[in-house]
């Protein structure tokens, strides 16, 4: 295996250009000071209650199941030009994915053209026949997409970004992107003064704009809500956070009801109509009349109202058909089919175990490959060949042979590493990146994403449920004086201007008073 690409260092001593300023700063910090900052960060996260619940786990003191996601103080830094390319690739990819979902539930041109096998789609558990022929606002299905990106080393020492996975159902983690940035600015303001770091804090604004964009066309001032499974859900903090930041209601299924073809929420002033539901509940639980009858997380009759176009669900029902791991290999072809463009972002080469030749290859190379369940998530149900014992491999082999179409396999990518605080100083740990792409009137995103880090030495699994941590993600702005690229946000300049203005007027009124 090629050695991993190190995001900060090129070779043993050289520091990459975009990390030089940070490296200099880090060299000047006393280790005790950094340790104190880490503790401070943890205390603040506890107080703010930025915690997640682990199923079946208990805290050390038995007081509950709330855990902190470990936060690392060394940021992942992305140079300006790399981000520009990645952004263009993400916009392209998500656009194609939305076209694909629309196609699947309408004319199915891509199936007729034989580019994606019909069986893969129509017999897929993620295909929702209920959505056939249903028209959704702007023809958009995945309004909020989380695209997982990794970087692997090439033999020549450079690194290539690959899309590892598309998350088009209810991708989470954006609150950590925002809170990590807030924390870094609080702990190390001097770093932000000495670097041109693109801001991300306007994400909730873009999100609200996107949700309003996809409201039913007949509604002028749409009422947007966030639907959460409740406070014991592992991502509850994020649901509450986003609702608060957008200034919309955070509702649970029990707060909603359907009457005369519309959805209402129960308020202290009587029923109020709801137009857009940013739902953080899976399809299966949305409507007990249409899906799982025992679900109490949804609202009875919701699907009917939705199909009539009287409420928007965000994301739409049935997006799972496009982020299924068995569909993933076809995404580059979708880009070509729908947009007539060459894909900017690459896929990881993938073996479909349902295919006989692929299966034979996979079985012969289990020790080198990563094998994943087609519908798996959260790092569960996967085999990392090089890290597995003989017994584990054999056990997995039996499962694989028993149900091959349930699995895909990929070469074990040496995910790039980033220096990370560990028990003994600083050491490289593997990372990935999840940028969030918003699709409304336009496709937009904030510069950055959530960087997850596998804290265990050598581990490639970054999921928080498996002991992963997070880092702040910096996208560096272009050097001042150079042309800004269209589509990037000129945030900082505008912000500082309005700040100085209001300070000025304060001063004035003080003098007058």
């Amino acid at each position: 295996m090629t050695p991993s690409f190190d995001e900060m260092h090129a070779g043993a001593t050289a520091v990459r250009a975009h990390y030089r300023g940070f490296d200099r700063w880090l060299g000047q910090q006393a280790p005790e000071l950094m340790a104190a900052r880490r503790e401070e960060a943890e205390l603040i996260f506890r107080r703010v209650g930025i915690t997640f619940a682990v199923y079946g786990a208990k805290d050390e003191d038995g007081s509950g199941t709330e855990r902190l996601i470990p936060f690392d103080l060394i940021p992942r830094i992305i140079p300006h030009d790399e981000w520009q390319t990645m952004q263009a690739g993400l916009v392209q990819r998500v656009t194609a994915l939305n076209r694909f979902i629309h196609d699947v539930y309408h004319g199915q041109e891509i199936l007729k053209a034989g580019i994606v096998p019909s069986d893969q789609v129509l017999k897929n558990a993620q295909f929702r026949p209920e959505m056939m022929g249903v028209d959704v606002p702007r023809g958009l299905y995945s309004h909020i997409s989380g695209i997982d990106i990794v970087r692997a080393a090439q033999p020549d020492g450079s690194g290539t970004y690959y899309v590892l996975e598309d998350n088009l159902r209810v991708p989470s983690g954006v609150s950590y992107m925002l809170e990590n940035r807030k924390m870094m600015m609080r702990l190390f303001p001097e770093l932000f003064a000495s670097h041109r770091i693109a801001p991300v804090a306007h994400y909730p604004d873009l999100l609200l704009e996107t949700l309003r964009d996809v409201a039913p066309a007949s509604v002028n001032e749409p009422t947007v809500v966030v639907l959460t499974p409740g406070m014991y859900n592992s991502a509850y903090f994020e649901h509450a956070f986003l609702a608060q930041q957008m200034g919309v209601e955070l509702v649970e299924g029990q707060d909603l009801f359907v009457k005369d073809n519309f959805v209402y929420m129960r308020t202290t002033q009587g029923p109020k109509r709801v137009d857009v539901i940013y739902r953080r509940v899976d399809d299966d639980f949305l409507d007990p009349l249409a899906f799982r009858p025992n679900s109490t997380l949804g609202c009875a009759g919701l699907l009917d109202v939705y199909r009539k176009g009287n409420v928007t669900l965000s994301n739409a029902i049935g997006t799972g058909i496009a982020d299924d791991k068995s569909i993933y290999p076809y995404v580059p072809k979708m880009v070509e089919f729908y947009l007539g463009e060459k894909p900017i972002l690459e896929n990881v080469p993938t073996y479909l175990c349902r295919d006989k030749d692929d299966l034979r290859y996979v079985l012969d190379h289990l020790g080198e490959l990563v094998v994943k369940e087609v519908h798996g998530a959260g790092g569960y149900g996967m085999l990392v060949g090089p890290a597995a014992s003989k017994a584990e491999i054999e056990e997995f082999r039996a499962q694989l042979v028993g149900n091959p179409s349930n699995y895909i396999a990929q070469p074990t990518l040496a995910l790039s590493t980033c220096p990370t605080f560990v028990e003994r100083g600083i050491a490289p740990r593997h990372i990935d990146l999840r940028p969030f792409v918003l699709s409304g009137k336009t496709v937009q995103m904030v510069p950055g994403g959530l960087t997850r880090v596998a804290l265990k030495e050598g581990s490639l699994v970054v999921n928080s449920s498996q002991g992963g941590g997070t880092k702040d993600t910096w996208v560096l702005e272009d050097e001042p004086g150079r042309d800004t690229v269209p589509g990037t946000l000129g945030g900082p300049g505008l912000q500082s201007q309005s700040q100085s203005q209001s300070q000025g007027s304060q001063f004035q009124s003080q003098r007058q008073g």
């Binding site: 506890r46 107080r47 703010v48 209650g49 003191d61 007081s63 409740g230 406070m231 509850y236 509450a240 956070f241 609702a243 608060q244 209601e249 955070l250 509702v251 649970e252 029990q254 707060d255 929420m265 129960r266 308020t267 202290t268 002033q269 009587g270």
Partner: protein
Amino acid sequence: MLSRTADHLFWMARYMERAENTARMLDVNYQTSLLPQSADRAEQGWQGVLGISELTQAFQKKHQDVDARSVMHFMVRDGQNLSSIVSCLSAARENARAVRGTLTTELWETTNQTWLEFNRMLRDNSFERDPAALFEWVKFRSHLSRGVTVGTMLQDEALHFIRIGTFLERADNTARLLDVKFHALAGDYFGAWGHDDAPEVDFYHWSAILRSVSGFEIYRRVYRNVIRPDKVAELLILRPDMPRSLAACMNELFANLGHVANEQSSETQRRAGRLRSDLQFGRIDEILATGLHAFLTQFLDRVNDIGAGISRDFLVPA
């Protein structure tokens, strides 16, 4: 505002207020227990604490003797006792967490911090080392959370439901405290004790009641006189300027209820207004003539009924 949100806010405030009142009551009993007194008298005090919260039976299932240690343990750190301080702070925090987006950051963090710190204090046995300091701490965290509420929350429905919860709970708690403290002495008190013929209760008994509602200094300021039971009752029931009196609580409750009124709530408002008027125009000699216990029992029923009305009209509509 979502009905469920209003419900959580209402209960968040009630539980915080309840934690404070429990701390106040325990503190006063603890301080009293440090004075020289008979064992009977001491036990009577601790039984009163259990009686106020209607917990005598639940307590007896777990403990044999009614003494300072076991009652304080039961009322402070027993998580199975839903009225214990730890249960109240936990419930306040859980309710806050359910609507954290509706609270200001300051209010949520204050509530969360109170819960985190309190658990830490229980773990390292700070409570056993110095119960009085812990009671004082709980009181001040409640002051803080009230101050943060009033000082940072937008003055909209959310604030009104918080205030409604606070004053409904406080009215209930003050009434119970009065009832138990008077009832313990005389069955029902009809205001018959003159200056000298009060039963063998003394200055310390009455001053303890007053202190538990931060009313000792206020009593002196208002009456400039020795402490007399009828005046204590008057202060805690009828004085609208005494922040923990029944009259003050009902004034606040009625005002806040007016701000959130909806199409179904007129009957609940009428009842709250009626109760408020009874206090506003009531006289202590009339109340005592019908019997204090009878009056307070009826008051608690009416407060309870208003609470049910608020629930039905706003918080858990059909």
